[in-house]
Symmetry: C2
Subunit: 120 residues, 2 copies
């Protein structure tokens, strides 16, 4: 008993050791779940497409490798390495990897319970 005020313990892990789960065709992820937010390392195969969708969760992220093209409200945003984004909840968005694929670190708040289920 360390006396933390939270029910969640500190976590330290290699992202590579986390269970990989599928998010769609050519898209897989590994997630670290906090209390009110989560990290999601997403690997997209070349040209992999995440079709238009929305969720109430706020989403932020950084492109770590490759290129990712977002479409939000009819506008294209092409992101390269170390480009970042912040999308409020309930904003419809589409994303597609470039021809070299992409590695993206996503953040959701609150935690996506559907991802927690998928990661188990």
């Amino acid at each position: 008993m360390l006396g933390y005020s939270s029910l969640v313990e500190p976590q330290f892990t290699s992202l590579s050791e986390l269970r990989r789960f599928a998010l769609g065709e050519g898209v897989s992820a590994q997630a670290l779940f906090g209390e009110g937010a989560m990290l999601n390392l997403v690997e997209l195969m070349p040209d992999a497409l995440i079709p238009p969708h929305s969720h109430p969760h706020e989403q932020l992220g950084v492109v770590l490798c490759g290129q990712l093209k977002f479409v939000v409200a009819g506008h294209e945003h092409v992101l390269a390495e170390m480009d970042a984004y912040a999308l409020p909840g309930d904003v419809e968005h589409q994303a597609q990897a470039g021809s070299q694929g992409a590695l993206v670190l996503d953040v959701f708040q609150p935690v996506r319970e559907d991802y927690r289920d998928a990661a188990q």
Copy 2:
């Protein structure tokens, strides 16, 4: 007027273009502020030390380059590239970069208003 349900608009930016602010000796950061969470890209010079501290905000993060040693509850956790962590709020922690320095992507929820002030 795009009709977003949130007061916050979608944001797309290169992290390198964000204003850099000091977090301590040998430690600087660039932040992207969302509504309920934020990204903070932290650059630590070799051996730079962030002394023991705590905050009510939950903190998650990933080491992108170099090495970072956390001390939490008397335990050392040495993190290398693509190692991640999740710290509940109000947990005292210390961090120190390795001899090559470190580049770390931190996430806080909720937003750290002290960082918003510092970044202006």
